[in-house]
């Protein structure tokens, strides 16, 4: 039994990593722009749908590259014409705006592709399982994990080790001072939105072969990712990473011990965290969101 619990814990850690790509983007947009992006899941769904459309012409590998880029481009447009107006507004307005955008995006997918799921498979080369001792792992998922980990590492490098990232981090702390040093934050903000939604789309491409591709898929993943962000603390990189892993493990353990509560477990976790650590595990106090 202990072995099986261990298996669930490891699986939970892996599963938690899948939320990361989306949760990190959510967190970035929030901390830099003050927008709680309820439409983030829509970009994930868009990534999955685009991947399916593109894969017919350029194959999985091509879709894997092109779909996130295309979605990032859409993200840039939305940033330019919608998000930008709301960075300095009451955050509640941003919440409502993105709620509406999510509605439009999901309905658009429904309109174009229909409500029923559309098929997509793991490329044959990536199929199969790997046995480690008595534990079984899906080859595709391990690859997916590697891609996710690489993306997260790249993002971390970008934010922590490059001038670009330093401008962004400085902008989170004190946008006025950044401006007073001659740096206009607008292109940085646009890039961050582009990168964030691109990552969400990447997650969509990666998950499309192993889960149903349907219009509500964005809503499905968003809620879980959102929980991860809130638990980790809005704006905290490592908080989000840690929270994703914790959520994965807690969910895995609940699947083992009390499956009906498996999905509810993360919400209970979130409520507890919010009640006792209102800004999440590592969240910073950001006055305008209080």
């Amino acid at each position: 039994m202990l072995v099986q619990i261990l298996e669930q814990v490891i699986n939970g850690l892996l599963a938690g990593a899948y939320y990361l790509l989306i949760a990190l983007g959510l967190s970035l947009i929030f901390s830099l722009g003050g927008l709680v992006n309820l439409a983030h899941g829509a970009f994930y769904a868009l990534g999955a749908y685009l991947a399916i459309v593109l894969a017919e012409h350029v194959g999985f590998a091509g879709a894997f590259v092109l779909s996130p880029l295309a979605v990032a481009l859409i993200g840039l447009l939305i940033e330019r014409f919608l998000f930008r107006r709301f960075y300095r507004e009451d955050p509640a307005l941003g919440l409502l705006l993105t709620f509406g955008l999510a509605m439009v995006a999901e309905q658009s997918l429904r309109w174009v592709f229909g409500a029923a799921p559309i098929p997509f498979s793991i490329p044959p080369a990536l199929k199969g399982q790997i046995l480690v001792g008595d534990f079984i792992y899906s080859r595709y998922r391990l690859l997916m994990l590697a891609v996710a980990a690489t993306a997260v590492a790249a993002l971390w490098y970008l934010l922590q080790r490059t001038p670009f990232g330093r401008v962004v981090r400085a902008g989170v702390q004190n946008p006025d001072m950044v401006a007073a040093l001659g740096i206009s934050l607008a292109p940085y903000m646009a890039s961050i939105v582009g990168i964030s939604v691109g990552l969400a789309a990447l997650a969509g491409v990666l998950l499309a072969p192993i889960s149903g591709v349907h219009p509500a898929m964005g809503a499905e993943i968003l809620t879980a990712s959102f929980v991860v962000v809130v638990i980790g603390g809005l704006g905290s990189f490592w908080g989000v990473v840690l929270a994703a892993l914790i959520v994965g493990v807690v969910r895995g353990l609940t699947v083992y011990f009390f499956p009906p509560a498996a999905e509810a477990s993360m919400y209970v976790l979130m409520l507890l965290v919010l009640l006792f650590r209102p800004r999440g595990l590592f969240g910073e106090r950001i006055q305008r969101f209080e």
Partner: protein, 405 residues
Amino acid sequence: MDHPLASRRRRQLVQGAAAAAAVGSLGFPAIVRGQSDAIRLGHLTPRGVNLAVEEINAAGGVMGRKIELIAEDSVNPQTASTKAERLIERDKVVAIIGEISSASGLAIAQVAQRNRTIFFNTGCNSDELRGKSCNRFMFHTEAANSMYVNAEGRALLRDGMVKGKKWYSLTADYAFGHDLLRVAKRFMQANGAEFVADELVATDAADFSGYLLKIRNAKPDLVISNLAGTQITNFLKQYVEYGLKFPVAGFAFDTAVAWGAGKGNVLGIWPLVWDSQVNTPASRKFTEAFVKKNGKPPENQAWGDYLSTKHLAQAMNEIKSTDSTKVVEHLEKGAKFDLLKTREGYYRNWDHQLMMEMYTLTFKPPEQVKDKWDLFTLSAPVPGPNESLEVIAPTREENNCIMPA
């Protein structure tokens, strides 16, 4: 946290599929649409163009009058109720057909009962709707959960997957799944299988890896799915991904689920109420017309809408009246109808369930698949040619219905 727009249920399989429903007959409020002498039918939550109306009108209509279909999305139970009332009161429809969500079905049924107007349920499976919540004006073209379970059960019995076998079951944790599980348990106990595990899965679960690990460790003889809608798609894709080899069977299925998973991602034995592979002249004709119109074969939901419209028109033609009470009486007398299947069927008088043949399906090996619609082969009809159609339906003891006055 449920996202604003998430609705992870069977309903999500169909919502909005009616993109360009029959222009012209698609509704305007009564005031806008000039009065005509057409017979109006309300269609809530349609799943595509209803071919039946065109065929009926082409064949001279009902008692010489045209049929006019007012198709709308029912949105949610409350709106379904509002719309049903509007269709009956303002648009004077003679009947309402459609629906897939049990809650909306119940809401419409209540309105239909109060207004003494017929409602054909073409998509809700729950036994409760036929039992505790039954009413005189509601008829069920869609099969009840019991019928799915019994049809599937017979296939499992035939394959020796029941007696003394260990089942591992996953059930969608909401009314539909609960009802299905109840019926499945009854079957299992009666036939000597046992559950090694019987787990409820939240409707918002998209990742099944944790469950798959548990299944792998439990080493069951059979994995049973009482899941619903896109959950089945997710489950099948991931089951294949993890390469588990235990046989899979399910007690509820929609063709759209298989199409959504796609070639190579599907396995197991599943029950089905109808498929375009059923080889009868009427079935072929319907399929051809449907493909011509939509570019894809009809699935089980479209069949239900088509069929109930036909049945209604046939009944009204037979009794030369559009009066709902008379139609109810006629149907209760056991009028026979073509079902695009080998045997004719009838609506059972005490619970208004359509008595009919069911099928089970198994998936073709990927190399035999011709196109994305051609994924499985259909069994012979259940029950067999010499049996009563009622043997797979719930008995009065199992699901009693007392029609309110």
